[in-house]
Symmetry: C2
Subunit: 433 residues, 2 copies
């Protein structure tokens, strides 16, 4: 511990403030364990006049992130700004100057990861991003280091706490989606504009990072199937429960044939017997299956000031320890053993199809006919109990393994039947084979 | 990938053979991801004549582990021999020669860890030991690196697959201990002499390593409370179930007052609502609570050729990448923020006390009197349903937080009552506060 390492912090929101606070509060344990002492020497924020708690020391605050780049007392740049264009310029500027970067910006990596790691490789300067995926859970370290000898069979993750909270409450309290969303807002688990969370895109950014790391090429966001949770009804949650499943916003990443991979993030029926079905509230979890290690699972808090700070601080220690020596890895290595995504229409899955139909003879026969003509097998049909009425009634079909493209076409054809009254809901069913 | 790193393998049992096999089978993914190529250049075994599958290449086998030390083509020594004295001599010899060591030997580290890491620090040569704790689960990396910024509140682990299989089957199939043990033997989950597993000592070795790493000093094995599962009856498993618990062989590691820690490994009642209660069969799991990261959990296969090989290979990659540069860490850093174990008699816990008593008035009053005199509170008393008979009947008491010393003395006094007929069973109850 000869030397104090200077940190430049870009962004002082929830996570930035947490990093600053814990760097002070746990300085002793950090420096004794890691043999490095670290000090924040510049903090870049948008509004320099804003009062903050904790308040960065006098003279630390700047309104211009570019000030971090050329300050010789800043050796490591921590990017916690949010957004894409400015963070990209900051990260590129830091790497050009051979300053290692720690970031928690999942959108930045998902959109511009390829470019960032080309630059990291060219300048021999590492980028650390444990905080970008699943908050305090060290899943990047697990996939990158602990399972380095494994070919990945599959990775399944619950990667968005807000969505998981909403779906959990729809199940445990029978709430409808708008009620559960409002509750999440009231508790501070959902932002005023929850679009990024409930649309599936926050989880998709994390899934893209995990898939890219596991399979050694940057997965284009356009090749990922992303569906949100806003169309899920309290009825779907209840019907799934009766069938032995819970609905989760699940990231599914799998090795497919011909060195291709499948990546999707969508509301998915998970068997209650699988441990991921028990991950409730704002918690995250990732199940990784490797060809050598077998089945593993990692669980913890996936967001929030403290868990995310814990990951940023771990990355900072690693960055500080590696300063001034050629890094073993810049944080991502393309390995060309896989190279493409399976087209979504070719991905094979079980499905849950929920319809609202007229309660009269012959309806099921017509639906079964459409599926049969498409070569799609039905596993089971349930007609949940309903009140006697002239209105449409729910009808649930569990569908055998089918090509997604064929299944979607069949669902559209079924939706066009006169006796089918509302838009069908088509959800993936994951059985973790 | 300019250079091939030479490996010396000491021990070619289950794990050694797995490392050899997967180093060949996954050579491409390993070398592309890690940028290092590795080759086994010597294999030390006891019986050089034995036929092996996979069979190490010609000329690799030696009957003397000392041959690994002075062979200049061996850069990293992998110790998978078992035992303590010979492995200790091998590890010391390798470190003296500045050859990094990868080991899966939990007994060696638990007994001689302090000495090994003093030597590692003196020679600046790292020792890697992910495979020593919880097989394929990267818990050493998590505690050492991912949570480096945290003060550890507690670590709870199910660390022995054999015991967990036996307890799981006692619960799911109502087997008695001897039947469940025989089943585990028949399936290859228990060895001919299962003492190390069922006595709690295998788990205790792992707990000692985790506790030492988390709290920065080598925990003396004599300061750990270790109890086996062989006195647990099918009745205890059933009574615990009725009370809302499962019995697990649980390692409990906690920060206590005055910079002291508690470490124990014993059959423990775990609330069914806690995720550790759901860890069944030969799986392992570790729940880590840090002051910043909060509650986390790691789950996977804790033993066996493949999962353990996965961890050895990850350590090998790290060792190979770090060759020839001063290591950031030699694998263990004492930090002097904690320094002692709480005496076991001072540890406070809830308890389960199972008695067999004469079924007549006044018995409970005398038992309650002894507990009351000792200042020990009773949470609940249950008398499980039993056949009408003149013989003794089970009586279960759930005990409020009590000092272990006081509780054990009270249990002895109760055992001395004339109406108490069999040896009482006293088990810890963990509520994860």
């Amino acid at each position: 511990m000869d030397q104090v390492i200077g940190i430049g912090l870009a962004g002082f929101g929830t996570v930035g403030a947490g990093v600053y606070r814990h760097l002070l509060s746990n300085a002793e344990v950090l420096s004794r364990r890691a043999g490095v002492a670290m000090e924040v020497r510049k903090v870049a924020v948008k509004d320099t006049a804003k009062r903050r708690d904790p308040a960065p020391g006098p003279g630390l605050i700047t309104g211009d992130w570019k000030d971090l780049l050329d300050d010789p007392r800043v050796s490591i740049v921590v990017e916690l700004m949010g957004g894409i264009d400015e963070p990209m310029a900051l990260v590129a500027g830091a790497l050009e100057r051979r300053k290692p970067v720690v970031t928690g910006n999942k959108a930045l990596l998902a959109e511009r990861g390829e470019e960032i790691f080309q630059l990291a490789a060219r300048t021999g300067t590492p980028v650390y991003y444990e905080a970008a995926v699943a908050g305090g859970i060290p899943i990047i370290k697990a996939v990158k280091e602990a399972f380095v000898a494994n070919r990945f069979v599959s990775i399944h993750g619950i990667l968005n706490g807000t969505s998981n909270y909403i779906l959990t409450r729809m199940g445990s309290a029978g709430l409808d989606y708008p009620e559960a969303l409002q509750e999440a807002r009231d508790l501070g688990y959902a932002e005023a504009d929850p679009t990024l969370d409930v649309s599936g895109w926050d989880a998709a950014h994390k899934a893209i990072i995990l898939a890219s790391l596991a399979y050694g090429f940057w997965v284009p966001p356009g090749r990922v199937l992303v569906r949100g949770i806003d169309a899920i009804t309290a009825g779907d949650v209840r019907f799934a429960d009766e069938l032995g499943y819970r609905i989760k916003l699940l990231a599914t990443i799998k090795a497919a044939e011909d060195l291709r991979i499948e990546v999707r993030v969508c509301p998915t029926l998970v068997p209650k017997s699988h441990v991921l079905a028990s991950v409730s509230g704002v918690y995250n979890a990732v199940a990784v299956r490797g060809d050598i290690v077998g089945e593993t699972l990692f669980y913890g808090r996936g967001a929030g000031q403290d868990p995310t700070s814990s990951s940023v601080l771990a990355d900072l220690v690693e960055a500080a320890q590696a300063l001034g020596r050629p890094p073993a890895s810049v944080g991502f290595t393309g390995h060309e053993l896989y190279g493409d995504c399976l087209p979504q229409e070719d991905a094979v899955s079980k499905f849950y199809l929920r319809l609202h139909v007229e309660d009269k003879p012959g309806v099921l026969a017509r639906i079964a006919g459409i599926l049969g003509d498409a070569g799609i097998g039905i596993l089971s049909v349930i007609q949940p109990p309903h009140e006697e009425s002239a209105g449409p009634v729910p009808l649930i079909l569990m569908i055998h393994d089918a090509r997604t493209g064929a299944m979607e076409a069949a669902a559209r054809a079924i939706a066009g039947l006169e006796s089918v009254k509302a838009e069908p809901a088509l959800l993936h069913v994951e059985d973790f084979r």
